[in-house]
């Protein structure tokens, strides 16, 4: 495999990570926080109705986790494909 193919593979993996993480992003905010919020509100999480919690805090906290995961995955991928900055 030559270098350009290798780099293409790097890019494809990056796109795959983004697609997976953005699906979670969509799930917690748009699905749990908006579209399914009334259905989820029937369940309680401590004092919070679940849908209300996702909209107010759950989505925001998940966003932070998503970026942390992406940063770690990409740092690993950068090393693996030898495009890590030093």
């Amino acid at each position: 495999m030559d270098r350009s193919q290798e780099l293409q593979q790097y890019w494809k993996k990056n796109i795959k990570y983004i697609a997976v993480l953005l699906s979670i992003w969509f799930f917690v905010s748009y699905l749990c926080g908006i579209i399914l919020v009334d259905q989820l509100d029937q369940f309680m999480l401590a004092g919070f109705p679940v849908g209300f919690w996702f909209a107010n805090q759950g989505a925001e906290i998940t966003f932070c986790l998503l970026i942390i995961v992406y940063v770690r995955l990409m740092n690993r991928l950068d090393r693996q494909y030898d495009v890590f900055e030093d």
Partner: protein
């Protein structure tokens, strides 16, 4: 010491810090002026981005907004945080790799077109000015409420401070002052939030206290012993039901509208130039990703506390004011009457304050200057039918929160300093965008390409100085439309920059024809919809007249979809971009170019952070 003395002291200290930082971080080159020499540590950049992002509106108005909207208010929480995920994954690292200074410059180069650059620089200037006017006004309002200084004097003081560090320090000065400002604003926001959380629920973390049960002390404060041991949100829902409001944890706004508004806010965030340029200041591409994460963590710290503050304040407010004799009303009620944020009209002459759905009277309170029968400040406004006797401005939720929670005076003063930090930091970031659009894109890029670096730096300083003056004037003479066009800033950023940048990175074949037609159609459509409902025919601004029930606040999403569609379709049927542009796009995708097995040699020695 009185609140005023404390406020002067704290504002004096914080302003001296900002000035000191500015003197130490002078910019002497265009690289320092536009991108702080790319030497900012990702964590510091995260803090600076947090302060840059959280404006006077986030600090002062957001909790109040949520407090009165209930669950529907969460669209601001999601909308103003979700964009950072897009920034971290789709924009920041690639734009940092590109390694230039402004967003219009990227669009101009990627689409090999001066016209594309000019359209985006005009957009950047317009978006930033609409945004900055509100910030300068916010500075004036904080001064007038806490220090009884006329609003205009407050605006001028704010102008002088921003002038000093933005003109002198450029991005370098602004970054370090923003770091200081973030610290001030987060402390100022969290201390009252923690106090009120402990008071009502005994839980020191507001975000958790919000879902906890009311403590014995909390029940005492709420003057309702039956509330003890019940979940705060249940109690609040019960109060809402009794007064005839819909439940606090339920929403009334149509889902489709909320969906579109959240998309527009998220995508708008990711497309706002003053946020994007913050990621140009870090040394490495991986720092740009990390920095977006840090920024979001610093923002979410405040954003998870905001809905808690909203719920606490709402419960406390209704319980301590509704059905209470005016003469027994809490102390803060009278002290905030004089600011015009709260007013009571005794419709049934019983001396008891009744609160409920609907407006108490027409418009904002206009005081007669006389004291009514029960000691209340009377107003000349025409009272409306309905049982509600109370006018409440939503800003009171944050501003009066420390007083409602009976906190010491220095904390109340800290809130003033925090509000100023939030407003000034955002203003400075926006002014930099305006200044670099003028000096780098318009003068150097279009009108005088042969200009020396010294000349460009001079233009950058002049641009910043001119922008400060215009922003100040907009704050002193606020055009009536400022509040109306904030939706514009997000809608426009979503409909113009976002698709052009994303597709510029993720699709090599998009070309100038697609980009131009997409941007023009996106901006045109969004602008038309907003102008129609806000200016030409404001009377028609009701859900039944909106397209598919999408409000002007959410229409940027449709503009963005139009832009994406045209960008892709038109690019398919027109000639491909030149080879060197496709190679440029290729290079954006990898942090470094390195052949396999090549030893790691840092390409360019950068000063470490």
């Amino acid at each position: 010491m009185s609140i005023t003395t404390w406020t002067w002291i704290l504002i004096g200290i914080t302003f001296s810090i900002y000035i000191l930082v500015a003197i130490r971080a002078r910019a002497v080159s265009t690289g320092a002026f536009y991108a702080a020499d790319r030497t900012i540590h990702p964590i510091l950049n995260g803090m600076a981005t947090g302060a840059d992002w959280m404006s006077a509106a986030s600090f002062i108005s957001m909790a109040g907004l949520i407090s009165f909207m209930g669950r529907d208010g969460s669209m601001y929480l999601m909308g103003w945080t979700g964009g950072y995920v897009l920034l971290a994954m789709l924009l920041a690292p690639y734009l940092r790799k590109y390694g230039k200074y402004t967003v219009p410059e990227f669009i101009g180069d990627r689409y090999y077109s001066q016209s594309a650059r000019i359209i985006s620089l005009l957009c950047a200037i317009f978006v930033s000015f609409t945004y900055v006017a509100g910030q300068m006004r916010g500075v004036g309002v904080v001064f007038s409420r806490f220090l009884n200084v006329p609003i205009n004097t407050g605006v001028v003081i704010g102008m002088c401070i921003v002038f000093f560090y933005a003109v002198l320090g450029g991005m370098k000065g602004v970054t370090y002052t923003q770091v200081a400002q973030y610290c001030v604003l987060i402390v100022a926001y969290m201390i009252p939030a923690i106090y009120i959380s402990i008071m009502l629920t005994g839980n020191p973390i507001p975000a958790l206290g919000f879902g906890s049960t009311i403590s014995p002390g909390g029940a005492e404060i709420l003057q309702d012993s039956s509330a003890q041991g019940k979940y705060l949100l249940d109690v609040l829902n019960g109060i809402h039901k009794d007064l005839g409001f819909s439940e606090y944890t339920s929403g009334v706004r149509p889902k489709i509208d909320i969906f579109f508004i959240v998309v527009a806010l998220m995508v708008g965030t990711a497309g706002l130039p003053h946020v994007i340029i913050r990621f140009f200041t870090v040394p490495k591409i991986r720092d740009a990703r990390a920095s977006a994460g840090w920024a979001l963590i610093f923002i979410v710290l405040l954003y998870t506390a905001a809905p808690a503050v909203a719920a606490f304040a709402r419960t406390n407010f209704i319980k301590t004011v509704h059905n209470i004799q005016y003469k027994d009303a809490p102390q803060w009620f009278q002290s905030w009457e004089s600011t015009g944020l709260i007013a009571w009209v005794d419709k049934n002459n019983d001396g008891i304050i009744q609160y409920g759905p609907g407006k108490a009277f027409v418009g904002k309170p206009k005081y007669t200057g006389h004291v009514g029968h029960f000691g209340q400040a009377t107003v000349t406004n025409v009272a409306l039918a309905g049982a509600n006797e109370l006018y409440v401005d939503r800003d009171i939720i944050v501003l009066a929160n420390p007083e409602i929670a009976r906190l010491p005076n220095w904390i109340i003063a800290l809130v003033a300093a925090g509000g100023l930090a939030a407003a000034l930091s955002t203003a400075a970031g926006l002014l930099l965008v305006i200044s670099s659009s003028i000096s780098h894109d318009l003068m150097k890029g279009v009108l005088m390409p042969s200009m020396s670096e010294k000349g460009e730096l001079l233009w950058a300083r002049c641009g910043a100085a001119g922008a400060v003056v215009v922003a100040g004037l907009l704050g002193i003479f606020p055009p009536g439309f400022v509040a109306q066009v904030v939706a514009f800033a997000f809608g426009l950023a979503a409909a113009s920059f976002f698709p052009a940048i994303i597709m510029g990175i993720f699709n090599k074949k998009t070309n100038v024809y697609g980009a131009m037609s997409g941007m023009i159609a996106g901006i045109g459509f969004t602008a038309f919809y907003i102008i129609y409902f806000k200016f030409i025919n404001p009377g028609a601004n009701h859900p039944e007249n909106w397209w598919f029930g999408i409000s002007p606040e959410g229409i940027g999403t449709v503009g963005m979809l139009i832009n994406f569609t045209l960008l892709i379709v038109v690019s398919k049927f027109t000639p491909e971009p030149p080879q060197e542009i496709q190679e440029l796009v290729d290079k954006l995708r990898y942090p470094v170019e390195r052949k396999r097995g090549e030893t790691k040699v840092s390409t360019k020695a950068r000063s470490p952070y």
